[in-house]
Symmetry: C2
Subunit: 417 residues, 2 copies
């Protein structure tokens, strides 16, 4: 493992130095920091004797050619951008793991039947334009005019302008052309740090991902009751918005627990709640409270069923408590299923390495979801990581990473052979 | 009733004209609007041939002398200040009802054994200095140096300066001297509009008040959990502050319902709740939520028992959900009991008038609480009123008011005779 270990250490160090913003790591989507990261990886790949190119999406593509060029390619990779003041591993770990595999194959003189390509993608993080997976979405012609007009959160410049400047073929992207033919890609494999705490809690270094959760969201649900003097209105005449919303949230929590006990995949969050500072008071019955709603699941049917429960509880509580719930636009993101065959192969590989095999869902979105939705059989490997991601404190142990990279290399070798 | 009706109509009209601010009624505590209201009532009382004076608290005192000057006086009244853009009835109704009684007694040549005094009090509303019952508290030497230094919410001038300007003997007030000897007052009777919706809902024009609720409050309770990615942290690893607070509030509501079913007097309110706008997000598990807590009851033991339940639920939920509740300073206001004998007399009077007798507690505070706490047997009459108070939409029907005033006059006549 010495070749891979040295390569990984060197690349993580170079990327950290290049992206250091004094607090964390900043590699702006379709910006200078991201481009510099692509250059660093490209130089390393070139030095290893691998083929390097930039595609029409200005992504870096590193190729180990196959002996049968007619066969679809085996693809792997991840993204090289980061959130502002983020960590060094989110995204980069997947690119480096791919390069380690190609370096090993090259060193071993392994000549696969199928070509193996590594994508160092741009523009995955939503922090810069409010839209995630821009780079992978562009590959499959999935950016709308509205997406492309989205202003940069700091400079206000439209996404398409920033893409053009980074080297993207803006005309093709704007026309919604596919920059990559899904039929040319046999499979997509992405290694990523886990952004949740499950592997730490379960003491497992690596896990295979079962699917990427989709979600149903409302940015703002309003519960409307009636304000009044807190001392002078007895319980039977109250229409208290906070008590009603609290009961709703408590009932959602109970349904959530029940669904988990029945084996469903689900997470539920009300990340935002608040009475109106313009009118609330300690001694005033709250007439209005706003809160956000989010349910996530790998299973679209579970999402719909939970959403039905949510609406039904709103109606019931509204009737019982004399309040009314109103809803802003429902936002949907479809779940992405990981390929079952690929997941089974990855899990077998994990067991073959003598490691515990406890697959987990991905709650966060990834470029793998875009590849899966384009019809490409996709798989993901999570590596244990502390303190979440999108912050400078993310902490991946190099030993864990080497295990994840090893699983990726083994699997790529199997499916490309 | 023609004398009383004409007097009431004339006085309410004059007070409305004098206090009109374009939107509602404004009679600033210890300010020009309040002083003008006192002058209007004084002129009317003088015209009726009643004795008028200002006491050391600059309150208006209208007296019908008793035949036995050694006996303690029978007192009645209310306050003449209002909140900004308030209504015309909150406070003034009680003063006008007292004057109507004295006018009737004078017209009838009724010579009571005990003198009857009407107080048109100043400074009841907390809207101007953040402190309520300033006028009545001053009478009994109950304003602290801190109270007297409280700045006017608009001008910033200290309360004591504004009191001095309105004619109060500021030196005596600052020394905490009693301006009125409680032993000189046999009883206090106050008519007031109901500030809640109970009489409207019960279709009763008038009710006798059983007591004035005290309260236990926290301005801010914090529930501290742990923030995290909403998709990536499963339920068993969550420390969700909003789910915990929602369950707490729901349990408080359940205890409240149970206590009501067992006949306890209680209202519970969380008027303010909110996650932190600086860090909350739709897709972020809320690590912190703040909310206010208020329980009110006529019974101090019920308050303490409910507060114990509150702390116990915080501890239990904290343990179950891995969150921690922390509390700012507990604020207490003691309940005030209305005199049982006086309440029984008022209720008998109500039934004698052929009216339904369904006594209710006062959830809002009143000067009567200050008189009761000074050891003076006190009673209150509520008159039906729509749309609450402290707003221009308060709506008392003149027929209802005349019934309340009639009950007050009958009762004053009985106890002064």
């Amino acid at each position: 493992m010495s070749l891979e270990h040295d390569l990984a250490t060197r690349l993580f160090d170079r990327l950290r130095q290049a992206g250091d913003d004094g607090i964390g790591i900043t590699r702006e989507s379709f910006g200078a920091g991201e481009s510099m990261a692509l250059d660093i990886v490209e130089a390393e790949a070139r030095a290893l004797g691998l083929e390097v190119a930039r595609d029409a999406g200005a992504n870096l593509v590193v190729t180990l050619p196959g002996t049968d060029p007619a066969l679809p390619l085996v693809a792997c990779g991840s993204h090289l951008d980061s959130v502002p003041q983020g960590g060094n591993f989110d995204g980069a770990a997947g690119v480096i793991a791919g390069l380690m595999a190609l370096a090993r194959f090259k060193a071993d003189g392994f000549a696969p039947r199928r070509g193996i390509v590594l994508y160092a993608l741009r523009g995955e993080e939503s922090a810069w334009f409010g839209r995630a997976y821009m780079g992978s979405s562009a590959l499959f012609g999935r950016l709308s005019a509205e997406d492309l007009g989205t202003p940069h959160v700091v400079t206000g410049r439209p996404l398409l302008d920033c893409m053009r400047e980074a080297g993207v073929d803006a005309g093709r992207v704007a026309r919604g052309e596919k920059l990559l033919d899904p039929a040319r890609i046999a499979s997509w494999l992405e290694l990523h740090i886990e952004q949740g705490p499950v592997l730490v809690a379960r003491k497992n270094p690596v896990a295979v991902v079962t699917g990427i959760r989709g979600n149903i969201r409302h940015r703002a649900v309003e519960c409307l009751g009636e304000a009044g003097h807190s001392g002078a209105v007895p319980r039977w005449l109250r229409r208290d918005a906070v008590f009603a919303a609290a009961e709703l949230i408590t009932r959602l929590d109970r349904h959530w627990r029940t669904l988990l006990e029945r084996g469903r995949d689900l997470v539920v969050t009300c990340g935002i709640i608040g009475t109106d500072p313009a009118e609330h008071a300690l001694a005033r019955i709250p007439g209005l409270v706003r809160f956000s709603f989010e349910a996530r699941s790998q299973n679209a049917e579970v999402l719909e069923a939970f959403y039905d429960l949510f609406l039904s509880e709103c109606a019931g509580i509204g009737e019982e408590r004399g309040v009314r719930f109103s809803f802003d636009r429902r936002l949907d993101t479809a779940p992405a299923r990981m390929d079952e065959g690929l997941a089974a192969r990855l899990r077998a590989g994990l067991r073959g390495m003598g490691l515990a095999d406890e697959p987990i869902p991905s709650g966060a979105g990834h470029d793998a979801a875009v590849f899966a939705q384009a019809g490409i059989p996709s798989g993901m490997i999570f590596v244990r990581n502390e303190h979440g991601s999108h912050n400078p404190k993310e902490a991946m142990d190099m030993d864990d990473f080497l295990l994840g990279a090893e699983l990726m290399a083994r699997t790529l070798r199997e499916i490309a052979a």
